[in-house]
Amino acid sequence: MKAEYNFIANIIEKNSTVLDVGCDDGTLMEFLKKNKNVDIRGIEISKEKVQICIAKGLTVIEGNAELDLKQFPKNSFDYVVLGQTLQAFINPEIVIKELLRVGKKAIVTIPNFGNWKVRLDLLFKGTMPITSSLPHEWYNTPNIHMCTIKDFVRFSETINFKIVKSLALIDKNISNISKSNIFLKNLFGELGIFLIENK
C-alpha cells in the first residue's frame, strides 16, 4: 500500500461517496471501503487492472478520465480522487475541471518534480531524472506533464480553483504546506497531496 493512502483516508469523511480515477488494482478503494465505509467507484484504463478490481468485488469501469468522466453528472460524488496520474494526461487542465465538476471536492496527488533528488539528477548528471517514484526514461515515460508542488499551487491560481488543504509527504511523514514553508516543502516533498474545490 502506498504511504499516502492513510493521509488520503484522513481527509475523506466517513460514509461519503467517492470516485477513484485511475484506481489501478483497487488497493486504495478497498482501504477506503474498509476504513471509511464509503460508497466507492473506480475508473481504470487498463483492462487487466479492471479485472483485478472486479475480482476484489469493486465496482470499476474501464475508461479514460479524459474521455469518460463526462458521463457523470455534476456533483455525482462527495470526493473524486486522482492519485499520481495528473501528469500523465494530455490536458491536465481539462481533467482538473472535470474532477471538480463530477466531485464536490477532489483529492489530487502529484509526484513532486521539485524534489531535491530530481533537481540534483538534472543538475549534475545532465540527464532526465530517474528516481524510485519516477522510474522511467524520458522516451518511455507516461509522465508527460510533470510538475512541482509550487507549479500546482500556481496552477490553482491560473485556472481558478481553491486549495482547501495541501500536504507534503516527506519520508513517510506528512506536513502542511503553507505560504511560508513552500520553498522547503517543494525541495524536500516527494509527493504533494491537495484537497481542492471550485471557487
Binding site: K47, T59, V60, I61, Q71, F72
Partner: protein
C-alpha cells in the same frame, strides 16, 4: 420432433398482454433448472438465452444430444457455479423448444400458427418469464444474466422489475437494435421466406421444410458472430479436402464447407418461423425509445448492481453500444462496472472459452453474492 417428454413446462394461466395488442393465456413456458434453490431462496440466477439458444444451458441437451449452449460458463465450479447457484433458463416465447411459439397448434384451426402467431417482443419475453419467480416462490433473484439477445432481456427485465434482481450482467448487447443489426436479420428472414418450401409459413402442415432458406439465414448470421481476424486465422484460404481449386461451385474453401455445415446442423434443431419471430423481436427492441430517448429513465427505479462486458472484436454489438448502457447508468448514479474483454472470437466470444471473460463473470458473481449475503 417428439421432444415433449424431455421438456419441463409451466403453463402460464395469467393472461399476458403482448406489445402487439393481443392477449395470450394458458400458454406453455418451457424451462430447465440447474443446481439447488437454497432455503433462503436467495441464490437463483435467471439466465436468458440468445437468438438460437434454448433452456438447455449446460450439460447435454436432451433434444440435440450436444453440449448446452453455455457449457463453458455454467456448471459446477464454473463462472455460474451450479454448486452454489440455482440456475433457471426458459425458452423464450416465440421459440421452438417447447415454449409457446409459431410451431404450436392453433386450437381454433387445428393447424400450426405459422405467421398467424402474434409478433412478440423482448418485453413480452421477459414478462412471460417473470412468472417463473412465482412458480419457484422466489422474491428476488440473485442475478439476471445473458449475452446478445439474452443481454437485451436482462436490460428489459431490470427495467420492468426494478426490485426483482440484486445483480444484472448484460453481455455483448445493446439497448437499441442498430440499422446494421436489423439489416442482417432482414437478410436472414428474406432467405427463409424466399425458400419455396416456406409457403407463407404454413410449411409444417406439409412434409417439406424451408431448410435451405433457414440454412442460408444461419450461414449469414454466423459470419456476423465471428471476426475477420478469427476467420482468417482459422480458415485463411485453406482448401477443403482437395489440393487445388476445382473451377466449380462446390465448397472449394474450408470456410465454405464450415458455413454449409453450420447451416445444415442448424436446420435440424431450429424452426424457420421461430427464426422470423425472434429476429423480429430483436429488431423491435429499443429501450431508448421506450423511455422517450433517455435510456437512464429505464433504470431510474432500480438499485440493481450491474456488470457489463463487451468484446474487442465484436462488431455486431460493439463496445460503444455496451458503453452507452454504462453511460446511461452512470448518469443516474447506478452501481455499474464495465470491462471490454480482449478476444479475437467476435460476438461469439461470450459462448466460447475466453478465460478473461469467464473469470470476470465468476469473480463478479461470487463477490457480489458474498456481499449480498453479508448485507441480508
Amino acid at each position: 420432433m417428439n421432444i415433449r417428454e424431455n421438456i419441463k413446462s409451466l403453463i402460464i394461466e395469467k393472461p399476458l398482454r403482448l406489445d402487439c395488442g393481443q392477449t395470450i393465456s394458458k400458454f406453455p413456458l418451457a424451462y430447465e433448472t440447474y443446481g439447488k434453490l437454497n432455503e433462503n431462496k436467495d441464490n437463483a440466477i435467471l439466465v436468458f438465452h440468445a437468438l438460437t439458444g434454448d433452456q438447455f444451458v449446460t450439460g447435454v441437451n436432451p433434444i440435440t444430444k450436444k453440449d448446452g449452449w453455455w457449457s463453458y460458463a455454467v456448471g459446477p465450479k464454473k463462472s455460474i457455479d451450479t454448486d452454489k447457484y440455482f440456475v433457471i433458463c426458459a425458452n423464450v416465447i416465440g421459440g421452438c423448444m417447447g415454449s409457446f411459439g409459431p410451431s404450436h397448434e392453433n386450437p381454433e384451426t387445428k393447424k400450426i400458427y405459422g405467421t398467424d402467431f402474434p409478433v412478440i417482443t423482448i418485453n413480452d419475453m421477459v414478462n412471460a418469464q417473470v412468472n417463473l419467480l412465482d412458480f419457484f416462490n422466489i422474491k428476488k433473484l440473485f442475478s439476471v444474466v445473458g449475452g446478445s439477445m439474452g443481454g437485451m432481456q436482462v436490460l428489459q427485465f431490470v427495467s420492468n422489475f426494478p426490485d426483482k434482481a440484486k445483480t444484472a450482467v448484460p453481455i455483448a448487447c445493446t439497448s437499441s437494435h442498430s440499422a446494421q443489426n436489423i439489416a442482417f436479420n432482414e437478410l436472414g428472414r428474406q432467405a427463409i421466406t424466399a425458400d419455396h418450401n416456406w409457403m407463407d409459413g404454413k410449411y409444417n402442415s406439409k412434409s417439406t421444410l424451408p431448410d435451405k432458406g433457414l440454412a442460408v439465414a444461419r450461414m449469414a448470421a454466423h459470419i456476423t458472430y465471428l471476426s475477420k481476424k478469427g476467420l482468417q486465422e482459422k480458415f485463411g484460404r485453406k482448401l477443403q479436402e482437395r489440393d487445388d481449386l476445382k473451377f466449380g461451385f462446390d465448397a472449394d474453401f474450408q470456410i465454405e464447407s464450415y458455413l454449409r455445415y453450420q447451416g445444415s446442423v442448424f436446420v435440424d434443431r431450429f424452426d424457420a418461423n421461430s427464426y422470423l419471430y425472434i429476429t423480429r423481436a430483436m429488431d423491435y427492441f429499443d429501450l431508448v425509445k421506450q423511455f422517450d430517448g433517455n435510456l437512464s429513465n429505464a433504470f431510474k427505479k432500480t438499485k440493481t448492481k450491474f456488470f457489463i462486458m463487451s468484446f474487442t472484436s465484436d462488431w455486431l454489438y460493439p463496445t460503444q453500444e455496451n458503453k452507452d448502457i454504462v453511460i446511461a447508468l452512470n448518469a443516474i448514479g447506478a452501481n455499474v462496472g464495465f470491462v471490454e474483454i480482449e478476444s479475437d472470437k467476435g460476438h461469439d466470444s461470450f459462448l466460447l472459452e475466453v478465460p478473461d471473460f469467464l473469470n470476470s463473470l465468476k469473480n463478479f458473481l461470487d463477490k457480489s453474492y458474498i456481499e449480498s449475503s453479508n448485507e441480508s
